[in-house]
């Protein structure tokens, strides 16, 4: 497969996954805000944590702009922000456009439909009043996109690059959500804060589309340690870090199998080391150490894996 094509597949998928995460986070945060206003918590902190997860520095807002409205606009529509949903969808589409000869036309059509829908001034106007519809459209579009990739393309080398893009992004985002929220919430130990803590941890699960799956596993109140266990270590939940890394390892393996069967690439080694830790280290040990340290090391390593992949297959 052409390196340029592999690159475009990787980034198309990665940008789409990123758009989906931003959309869901915003959706969850808007809901949480409504709940928090009842609980009397400061929402400054609430929005700061969101921009921290997304590594975003929101430009100074005018005095007449409500902070949440300004932030939401910056993260949703603003094309000057390369991390906004519209910028991500635009780039996913640009990448797809550059390889229209390679991806199935159904995939292109759905991506294109979503782009035009989100660009429609009338839809944007409606979305500003009720953002839910907009974020739903992005999430549904992403599910449709990945579903079509899985169901209509051959699971060949190109498909593996789509998987890599998706799971690199997913691992990264899940790790960051855990990292920031754990940091923020570990001081909520006062019994009076229990309901606040529960709200927040439920939001963490929802941010990873994990709430219902978690509840089917664990009955009762949402508990931080169980959330960490589920999102970090669960081997069968498709949005957990371990699942994502294993999927990346499988894809790399499939790409390398025919080309260099005996050779381990740098990305392979890194993934193997990370997976050994996530598979064999007991949760108690992970929680007993500095979790923030642990998570930021993983975030860094996911970045290294991504760079190693790009280098090996001469992606850009």
């Amino acid at each position: 497969m052409l390196s340029r094509v592999a690159d475009a597949l990787f980034w198309m998928s990665r940008y789409f996954e990123r758009a989906e995460h931003v959309a869901r986070l915003l959706d969850v945060w808007f809901h949480l805000e409504l709940d928090l206003s009842g609980a009397g918590a400061p929402y400054e902190m609430h929005w700061t944590s969101l921009t921290a997860i997304l590594q975003q520095h929101v430009p100074a807002l005018g005095n007449d702009v409500l902070p949440q409205v300004g932030i939401a606009h910056w993260l949703t529509f603003d094309l000057d922000n390369p991390g906004s949903i519209m910028a991500c969808i635009t780039r996913a589409r640009l990448n797809a456009r550059s390889i229209r000869g390679t991806i199935n036309s159904e995939i292109w059509r759905e991506l294109n439909k979503l782009y035009w829908k989100l660009s429609d001034p009338e839809f944007i106007r409606r979305s500003k009043e009720s953002p839910y519809e907009f974020y739903q459209a992005v999430e549904a579009g992403s599910a449709l996109f990945q579903g079509l990739c899985d169901a209509t393309s051959t699971h060949d080398e190109g498909w593996q690059f789509i998987q890599l893009g998706k799971f690199v992004e997913r691992a990264d985002k899940t790790l960051r959500i855990l990292d920031i929220q754990y940091h923020l919430l570990r001081d909520l130990t006062n019994p009076a804060d229990v309901s606040l803590s529960t709200l927040h941890w439920a939001a963490v699960l929802m941010s990873c589309r994990a709430y219902e799956s978690y509840q089917r596993r664990h009955v009762g109140r949402v508990e931080p340690a169980r959330v960490v266990n589920f999102l970090l270590l669960d081997p069968s939940f498709p949005r957990s870090v371990r699942f994502s890394l294993e999927a990346m390892a499988r894809s790399l393996n499939a790409i390398e199998r025919d080309a260099h069967p005996r050779e381990l690439s740098k990305a392979d080694r890194l993934l193997g080391l990370m997976l050994a830790e996530l598979t064999y280290r007991p949760l108690e040990q992970i929680l007993a150490s500095d979790l923030h340290d642990f998570l930021s090391r993983l975030i860094d390593q996911v970045g290294q894996v991504s760079r190693a992949i790009q280098e090996r297959y001469s992606l850009r």
């Binding site: 052409l2 340029r4 635009t90 640009l94 390889i99 390679t102 080309a259 001469s314």
Partner: protein, 496 residues
């Protein structure tokens, strides 16, 4: 389906006719594709006419809206880029199909086959023995002074002696309905993807219209094209690697490039994906370099290889031309085919047909005056306001003077140019292109159309039954180019 099967519908149709879509449809002096006389459709349009007449304006408008939406969602269009996101324009399709009866098509087909055979024999001749020039059928200076004659390729061999593998020939109809060849596009003709997607879209948005017709499928085009490309592999190599070389997403025909690459199942490459080593062409892949045998190139000669042609080209591949000359890679179309569709050579195509094939041309040219001939020059200068003057090396509707629509100042300028560079111009009488019912704001009106069938030349010559019909959307306009406000139509070739 016979009309008599639906006796009850005739009354309905008559009512709709009075208030329907065709209200106010007028016939001009041009040949109308649908109507022989006012209100009287030709036999092959009768059924379509009935269906249209039974539809209300709003019902048909919905079909048009669905057509536009479908084109937008499929990303069928050309692009004008500004910032990163770009301005994408859909090439508007009119949902009223153009219909060509089988017998009429057979004549067109035979004429096109004859024409491409002659053009390829001409190219082989001028790049080798040059008999036609020595016999003075064509003035040698016309060829040697042509901007697209590549003297570097004189004596070079091309696989199977085919130079033009894909030709898009523009046909028009005069006031009597006679098909005439307006020009041959033998370099990198485009538009075939619209021929194919227009059919797909029309089937989706207005399936009922197909019910009373047996339309020949045009869907075989990509396979037929791939057959041609495989046929010209260097040294007849079995199972060759074929790629499509595109200038990239900023090219206005990029949609077509991806469409064809996908339908043929071949890789779409850009110049930067290819590398030449020891006269062999490779593409850069995730597993290293992979050999390429045949390139369907959609880049003009000038940009193919910065070492040979334009040194500032970043679209091309350094060393490609040497590899081509060494017979290590095949190009379709070949290099230097532009001399065959040079408008200065065009008037001689009928002579080529007689010279090489010993046949009479089946399709006629449009009457053409050449300023190099003194009597023609006189005629041109005296009748400029009644003629269309074309620059020989321009296409896409650029570099033209349309006499009746020109100002005295423009005509003076062209007179001067023509006197100074007679080789660079030709002049033709204004042909009233045929009109075809077309949906516009307010109903159906006649608009001028042309016809571009696509001819493939490999082991045999294939004309896939179908064509691109371009339509000039502004009222009275004779310019059908997409860059100048044109649209397109699905084009049906009937089986019977």
């Amino acid at each position: 389906m016979l009309w008599s099967e639906y006796p009850c519908m005739s009354g309905v149709a008559e009512v709709a006719e009075r208030e329907g879509l065709f209200t106010g449809y007028t016939l001009g002096q041009a040949y109308d594709e649908m109507f022989a006389r006012p209100g009287e459709p030709r036999w092959h349009y009768a059924s379509l006419h009935r269906q249209l007449s039974s539809l209300s304006y709003d019902a048909f408008r919905r079909i048009k809206v669905m057509t536009d939406l479908s084109m937008l969602q499929d990303g069928v269009g050309f692009t004008v880029y500004r910032q990163e996101e770009g301005i994408e324009r859909v090439w508007p399709m009119d949902p009223i199909p153009r219909i060509i009866p089988a017998q009429e098509w057979q004549v067109i087909e035979r004429g096109l086959i004859q024409r491409i055979l002659a053009l390829n024999l001409f190219l082989k001749d001028v790049y080798n023995d040059q008999f036609i020039l020595r016999d003075r059928v064509i003035d040698p200076r016309l060829v040697f002074e042509g901007a697209f004659f590549r003297r570097e390729f004189v004596g070079a061999k091309v696989p199977r002696d085919i130079y033009i593998h894909i030709c898009g020939t523009d046909l028009i109809r005069d006031v009597n309905g006679r098909y005439l060849v307006l020009e041959d596009n033998g370099r990198t003709p485009s538009g075939v993807s619209y021929m194919l997607t227009n059919r797909q879209v029309l089937k989706r948005v207005w399936p009922q219209v197909f019910e009373s017709y047996t339309v020949q499928s045009n869907d075989d085009y990509p396979s037929a094209l791939l057959d041609v490309l495989r046929y010209i592999a260097p040294g007849g190599r079995p199972d060759p690697t074929v790629v499509l070389l595109s200038p990239g997403i900023y090219n206005s025909a990029y949609f077509e490039h991806t469409f064809l690459a996908q339908r043929m199942g071949i890789e779409l490459v850009e110049g930067r994906d290819l590398v030449v080593d020891q006269n062999r062409v490779y593409m850069r892949t995730t597993r290293g370099l992979e050999r390429v045998d045949v390139i369907y190139r959609r880049i003009d000669d000038d940009f193919l290889d910065p070492l040979v042609f334009r040194p500032d080209s970043i679209l091309g591949v350094p060393g490609l031309i040497n590899a081509y000359r060494a017979g290590q890679v095949s190009l379709a179309n070949g290099v230097g085919t532009g001399i065959a569709d040079d408008k200065g050579i065009y008037p001689f195509v009928p002579d080529m047909i007689r010279y090489y094939l010993k046949q009479d041309p089946i399709l006629d040219n449009v009457e053409t005056f050449r300023p190099l001939v003194p009597s023609h020059l006189q005629h041109i200068l005296a009748n400029l306001e009644r003629l269309v003057v074309k620059t020989v090396n321009e296409s896409g509707g650029y570099g033209m003077l349309i006499g009746p629509a020109s100002t005295a100042e423009q005509r003076d300028k062209f007179r001067e140019h023509i006197r100074q560079q007679p080789r660079n111009f030709i002049a033709q009488p204004v042909v009233q292109l045929s009109t075809h019912p077309t949906f516009v704001e307010g109903g159906i009106e006649g608009r001028h159309v042309d016809l571009r069938p696509f001819v493939l030349c490999g082991e045999k010559v294939v004309v896939v039954p179908g064509a691109l019909t371009r339509v000039a959307l502004p009222r009275g306009s004779l310019v059908v180019n997409s860059s100048q406000g044109g649209g397109s139509k699905d084009t049906w070739v009937l089986a019977e």
